[in-house]
C-alpha cells in the first residue's frame, strides 16, 4: 500500500483468519448458545426422569413388595422400573420428533451444510435421549431391586 501511495491511511489491518473469524463469529456464538441450551435441556430432562422414576418407585414400594412375595426376582423388578422409564422416554421422543418435524420450516434458515430433516440427526438424538433415560432410571431401578418384601408388606 505504501508503494502505491505513502499518504494513504491504512485502517483495520487484519489477517485472513481474523476476517473469517469476524464473519463466522456471530453464527458460531448462536450455535454455541443453542448447543448449550440443548445440553441443559437434556440434563434437565434426565434429572426430571430421575426424579419422577424415584418418586414412582417410592410410591410403588408396597406393590414391589407384593411382586417379590409372589415370586418376582429382583431383575424382573429392575426391568419393570426401567421399562416404565423407557415408556415415558419413548413417549417424549415421539412428541419431540413430531414437534421437530413441524419446526423444520423455521429451522432450515438457521442451518448451514445440513438438512433440517436429516434422519441421522433424528436417530442419533433419539438414541441419546433413550440412553439418558436408561441412565436416569438406573439408580431408582437398583433401589427397587433391594426392596425387602417384609418391610414393604408391613408398610401398607
Amino acid at each position: 500500500m505504501a508503494e502505491l501511495d505513502r499518504d494513504l491511511p491504512v485502517g483495520e489491518v487484519k489477517t485472513i483468519e481474523q476476517i473469517i473469524s469476524d464473519s463466522t463469529g456471530q453464527p458460531r456464538f448462536r450455535s454455541f448458545l443453542i448447543a448449550s441450551f440443548a445440553g441443559l435441556a437434556l440434563l434437565l430432562a434426565a434429572v426430571g426422569v430421575y426424579g419422577l422414576i424415584s418418586f414412582t418407585v417410592a410410591q410403588r414400594i408396597p406393590e414391589i413388595g407384593v411382586r417379590l412375595a409372589l415370586g418376582a426376582n429382583p431383575w424382573q423388578v429392575f426391568s419393570l422400573v426401567i421399562g416404565q422409564g423407557l415408556k415415558l422416554a419413548a413417549l417424549g421422543i415421539v412428541i419431540g420428533l413430531a414437534v421437530a418435524a413441524a419446526a423444520t420450516r423455521f429451522m432450515s434458515g438457521l442451518l448451514f451444510n445440513t438438512s433440517a430433516t436429516d434422519p441421522v440427526v433424528y436417530a442419533s438424538l433419539s438414541a441419546l435421549l433413550l440412553t439418558m433415560a436408561v441412565l436416569a432410571c438406573y439408580v431408582p431401578a437398583r433401589r427397587a431391586m433391594r426392596v425387602d418384601p417384609m418391610t414393604a408388606l408391613r408398610s401398607e
Partner: protein, 222 residues
Amino acid sequence: MIKLTNIEKSYRHGLSQTFVLRRVNAEIKQGDFVSIMGPSGAGKSTLLHILGMHDSAWTGEYWLFEDPVHQLSAKDRMRVQKQHIGFVFQSYHLLDNLTVYENIDLPLSYRDVKKSEREGMVADILDRFNIVGKKDLFPNQLSGGQQQLVAIARAVVAKPTLILADEPTGNLHTDQGKEIMELFRRLNEAGTTIVQVTHSQANAAYGRRVINLKDGWIVDEN
C-alpha cells in the same frame, strides 16, 4: 413336610437385643391345617413370613420337604418358594392397577409357564372360584370378601402344596369370613396344607391343630 428347629429372630438396639421368636420347634405334616394363635406381638406373622421365605434374617433350621431352607441361597429359596408356597395376606395386597384376571395371572407370570397354559390355569381358577364375571374388574370395584377371594385364587393358581394365610379374615365381615374359612377347609380337604395366623377361636376351629405363641415362645401346642 415342615420341620423347624430352634428358629430365632431378634433385633439389635445398640447393646440390647429384642427377641421376636425364641427357640421355635415345630413340625407340620402334609395335609395338615394349622392355626398359629397368640396375642399381638407374639411373633405369629413373623413366623409365617419366615415359613413363606419373605424373611431371611433368622437363625435355626427350617426344612421344607427335602430342602434345608436355612442353607439355601436367595435364588434357591425363591425357587423352593415358587414351587411350594402360596401366600394370603390380611389386607389382600391385590395390585390396584391390574384387573382380577391380571392379578391372578401375576404369580404365574413369574414362573416358567407358557402364556397359553397360563390362560388355561387362570380360566380354571376363575371358574372354580365363581368369579368369571369379575375378571375384568379392578380390585377397588370389589367388596372386601371378593377381594380376599381373588387373593386366595391368586395364591392357589400355581397349585402350591402349602398355603400360608396371615389373618385372612381379619378385615372381613363375619359372614364373608365364614365363606373364606369354608374355602380354606375345601382346599385342605383337597390335599393342600394350610397354616393360618388368626386371633379368632372360631377360625382356628376350622383347623386340626393350634400352635400358641407368646412373646416369641411356643407356649402350647394341641
